[in-house]
Symmetry: C2
Subunit: 376 residues, 2 copies
């Protein structure tokens, strides 16, 4: 049976030679999993990996859709949360995939947010030295960022995402209906990554978001457009630099400051989630660029105004519970980015949509900036 | 400093685009590790993974050579044996690599046989989504087979090598001096894989081995020639089919029967080691091909005569302790190779150096053949 797009559905192609794949974006895709997989996969067997938060809502409809298309499926439900990205959970996932006799033409499905996608993609990447893999992301963050591009992995005691592989999915199904059940805070956190694509190199998209963000938050076709534009932006970068030798680093715009803030709040999601860290980090990146005389302070103000309007935190002071001194934040940055001869690599900007990789940023300037922004 | 080859040293290039690498074959290479790495690597930090059998002989000379070249090294010594190819040992290896702050331009070194190479290569393949990796194989089997080609991995309760990645090394140092310390049985087991390359598609090489095997066993330039020819044969196949979509399956000549025999003897190395299983398996593959009227029985007799002359087992009856009935051997084959509609894929041959992939071999014919060769 051929895949049939509904009128509101969008398709983005990730061009990676013989590893190219489609991202489908639209309503009702989870209930169409069987149809979409049936149209693309030779095998007739899948293993679905999900978590305790997602399973009650979406596992049954997915399993029913697979059964209806004559696809045999087993499922494994993991505990939710960042701690699941560990060897402790990777091992039973690999066992479940092998136990289900998933072979060359069969597939492994990740049904969940970034944690489930990263863990499951890693398992798919190492079982039989690489098995077919389908992403069904259920958070906005996963739909516009982590489900696209093939980065998979788990955390190590030495740091986040330090163990993993590049393993591209064979298909991404971004069911936009699931976004209606996200909390406003979760949706906003994902929106920070949407805005990021505008700030990296798509000023017109950022302008469109400033005009249309309410429609994006409300759902419907503007939201599908925003997700498709984000996926297209990420797909373009990934196609140009799959293994992050250069350009792909731009996708980390706002993330160096953001990661430091996540570390400083000990990854406590009550205080700060990833997208919120990125929102504050993007404002800081603009302000730091202005301080280095690379960009106008007007751009920093414009970015902050928009992120604030949608309800995102934009300043370190917005984080509840206080932060350690600037020196400690700087230590976290130095752990994330290697400091070489007092210089570090940073994604800076010349203005909205004009980001670039700077590899000679003086660590002392970053520290002084942090001290100004976060006086003790 | 440039790498300088001694007159007796050979170099084989594995051509894989931007992942191409050299295999150096010759005496004294372990004591030259620092020189060879220093000539090729930007970084100045390595982690050496080895085992308790290899460490007492070769770890100190390697560490001294690295220190002399100004390369900082840490080492981790694991228990020897197949059980080490497990998540239980993979996790501390990953930790050791990260703990040593091995980064982009640094490297991970596997100093040991196939187990250490497979495990360490897998760890290098997943730390930071792929780290530089150097193979220093210390068995003949590892020098002519497992250290070349990028297959890495660990075992699963569901089967051997089911978890892993393709991760090519950046350099292979095959120090032929280490072969002098192998037991005759270990050397012969590795020799079975050398002979395999002749049987796959190099009849002149097989003929050369028939004439020169005593010199190969004695050491010196004939042995270096045989290893270089084997590495070149494997490099050619890997360059043509890195991820085993077709041609690379030929490298499994003799292995389907061999794996079944290894499983039937419960991987008890007192009874049968891998190379011995391959030796018997290659004779069986020739005999089965003759039975299918694909090849002359003379070729089977010729192959058996040579392997027997060098001291390898060539018949199922040569395995001490007896074997389960033919039906059980057939079950092991069916687990290894998927049976589809009563047919399975097998590497057969039309004669010495004329192997090919047959994907429609009737399972019933294999069973009848096994019953004849191994009557209860």
């Amino acid at each position: 049976m051929m895949s049939q797009m509904t009128p509101s559905e969008r398709k983005v192609r990730v061009n990676l030679g013989d590893r190219s794949y489609d991202i489908l974006i639209g309503p009702g895709l989870i209930a169409a999993t069987g149809r979409e997989i049936g149209a693309r996969l030779k095998g007739r067997r899948v293993a679905v990996i999900t978590d305790e938060n997602v399973a009650p809502r979406y596992l049954d409809p997915m399993m029913a859709s697979l059964a209806q298309s004559g696809i045999e499926a087993v499922s494994l439900v993991l505990p939710p949360g960042e701690k699941t990205k560990s060897f402790d959970h990777l091992i039973p996932v690999c066992d479940a995939i092998l136990g289900a006799r998933i072979e060359r033409n069969d597939a492994v499905i990740a049904l969940g947010g970034g944690v489930i996608g990263d863990l499951t993609g890693f398992a798919a990447g190492i079982v039989r030295r690489g098995s077919r893999f389908i992403q069904v992301p259920t958070s906005l963050l996963a739909q516009v960022d982590s489900s696209v591009g093939g980065k998979t992995g788990i955390n190590s005691p030495h740091g986040k995402n330090l163990i993993g592989v590049f393993h591209q999915p064979d298909l991404v199904l971004a069911d936009t209906d699931v976004l209606d059940t996200l909390s406003p805070r979760e949706f906003r956190a994902g929106y920070a990554e949407v805005a990021k694509y505008g700030l990296i190199d798509k000023p017109a998209f950022f302008h469109w978001l400033e005009q249309n963000w309410q429609a994006v938050f409300a759902g419907g076709s503007a939201r599908i457009e925003a997700i498709a534009a984000s996926c297209q932006a990420k797909a373009d970068v990934v196609a140009a630099d799959e293994r992050e030798n250069g350009l792909r680093a731009l996708l980390n715009f706002g993330h160096t400051f953001g990661h430091a803030l996540e570390a400083a709040t000990e990854y406590d999601s009550n205080r700060l989630v990833h997208g919120e860290g990125v929102a504050i980090g993007m404002v800081l990146a603009h302000e730091f660029s202005a301080r280095m005389n690379l960009a106008s302070p007007d751009d920093a103000r414009r970015v902050e105004a928009h992120l604030k309007t949608v309800g995102l935190p934009t300043r370190m002071g917005d984080i509840p519970g206080g932060l350690p001194p600037a020196e400690r934040l700087m230590d976290a940055i130095a752990q994330d980015k290697k400091v070489k001869g007092g210089k570090l690599t940073f994604i800076l900007t010349r203005g909205v949509g004009q980001s670039f990789v700077a590899d000679d940023v003086p660590a002392s300037e970053v520290l002084n900036f942090l001290k100004e922004k976060h006086p003790q």
